[in-house]
Symmetry: D3
Subunit: 132 residues, 6 copies
């Protein structure tokens, strides 16, 4: 099995609901360093999993919808806790949608899975993995 990963980041504000979250119930923020991994069983004609330049562009396009925003004000997240793991799913699902729509070109048909990791600090990160 092969994989290619590209890294980017977003800087967002949000608050989390529920006593579990302690001081994180207050409006605060995070830099999420985002790793997007594309998995594929065999390499294509060019010898690659995915065009890494296009992969980075598609990840940027997905992240641009979240970047420099207060997630508490985003209709898409109404009634939902934007925890690190939940955001990993949002990013993974939006990326999968673009991949299936052809954003990475013909060769994306062979992609099998997608994994997203969001690093919220040097001591904590969360991940989400799904089939494509």
């Amino acid at each position: 099995m092969f994989s290619v990963t590209v890294r980017d980041h977003i800087m967002v504000a949000h608050s989390l609901s529920g006593e579990t979250f302690g001081p994180a119930q207050r409006l605060h923020g995070a830099t999420y360093v985002v790793d997007a991994t594309f998995r594929r069983r065999y390499l294509g004609a060019d010898g690659v999993v995915v065009d890494i330049g296009r992969a980075a562009e598609v990840l940027r396009a997905v992240l641009a919808e979240l970047d420099y925003r207060n997630l508490d004000d985003e209709p898409a997240f109404a009634g939902m806790n934007t925890s690190t793991e939940a955001l990993a799913k949002v990013i993974g699902d939006r990326l999968a949608e673009r991949v299936r729509a052809g954003a990475l070109g013909e060769r994306t048909r062979a992609l099998e899975a997608l994994a997203i990791t969001l690093h919220e600090s040097h001591v904590a990160w969360a991940g989400y993995e799904r089939a494509l």
Copy 2:
């Protein structure tokens, strides 16, 4: 599949038995930077894999039993090589025991697996993964 990882560290002395280990047969030491990853198929009501604050506390509690010690003097490790991979198992199993005993609360019933990585330097690390 979702995951959440927290990072902490311990500083221990030990020696290793067997010609394989060369100079590491002498009493020496290591900083182990420890990553504990909790895996779960679906997010719970709060939108999280695990209460990350409690996860960090439980990891600290497990590590406190090893931290700033000479492992050669610990009865728990008598007759056993405390290699990086063996220590990863010790930490993973002790963490699993606490999780099953409810240290992470009700939501831990949905946790499926636990992965431990011990970084012993910038050029070597070992891991252990198990079901919960």
Copy 3:
């Protein structure tokens, strides 16, 4: 010259005023991974620059006043841009004040300088250095 550095982090929301900041004029957020470095010409009796445990506690105390907050709502920052470099100065000056007040004990008299680095992502960071 000797130095000791401890690392911690904060997660804050804020917005920045001025066209320079582009999308960062919107309310957003950041994880700042904070490195505090203490400099000293000669080691003391114990052979250390500073009691590293106390240094970490004092840094935590300073960061706790900022952590999990919306800096736009903090009276201390009224009329000021909480840029990464400006925050580095706030943290450095507050830390210096505590050090001078004896928070690190007698040996802090020999400390000569303090440097603060705030990492806002894997591709950008800012620093502030001052005498003690």
Copy 4:
């Protein structure tokens, strides 16, 4: 499941064929920081996955065949794109061959899988995983 990883690196020149690669069609180069992970279900008598010193030596031997070279001039890569993911496979397969030939000793019989990661920069990396 247990794993042990060792890290090394190579510095190579190469060019890539195909419009996909844009400016990377020109002769350029890369430092690949290479992580080799050995997986095994149970630890052996010494309590290890693999003799980590020998693992590092075998990885170095495989990498030495590529290091400080222009891959465009290597007969082994004629007619093949030496993309990061393709090189991960080359390194993984050559390492597997040496492991099967006994380079890691008797205990390698219990090794089940091998994973190679090539970091080409701080924002991109590729991997290849195979059974042993």
Copy 5:
């Protein structure tokens, strides 16, 4: 003293002349992860050292002249060893020239120094620092 650092990277081929360089006398390559640090005594009206977005753009512009190239073929480097430290100077001097030409705007008048670090692997890097 304040500083702001931005990170980017280049991927180049080159060879080095002189027995000192051993196998690096052959045509090979490197990824250089490049950190550019801007230093300034006082913050300006916006509370920043430099417009970080423009700083990243100017760094990219300087790096684009080197990226994805064989430095042995560049007239600018004829008769010169493109060692990591020498490349740090080239990048620092070209960046300084653009800064002095106003690429970072009016506020660059207050910049005092520039430091460049080129990371060639996880175990080696080189730096160059100069006044502005």
Copy 6:
């Protein structure tokens, strides 16, 4: 000013004397990831600060005297606390001695300073800098 840095590591046991050190008064251990930086005002004929291969060898030679040892048993450290900052000085001074003795060759006459950083974990490190 130019600099070149090489990284290596040691794994040692030790204990620290004095109430300041809390649990670190017990015999424990550490991995120290060691960065050695060589500074020089002008590059030499080959366009380098120092032969990086020889620099790495000399650093290894100095570290080999400490590696895989219990520092409490080393006569050289009798009556001295082997704190991270004190060890940075030991390594820096021993390295300086070898450099002055010609271990790095003729060009070392132009070296001006040496800086040593010892990373003891992902959240703490210490440094020592001296003239050559």
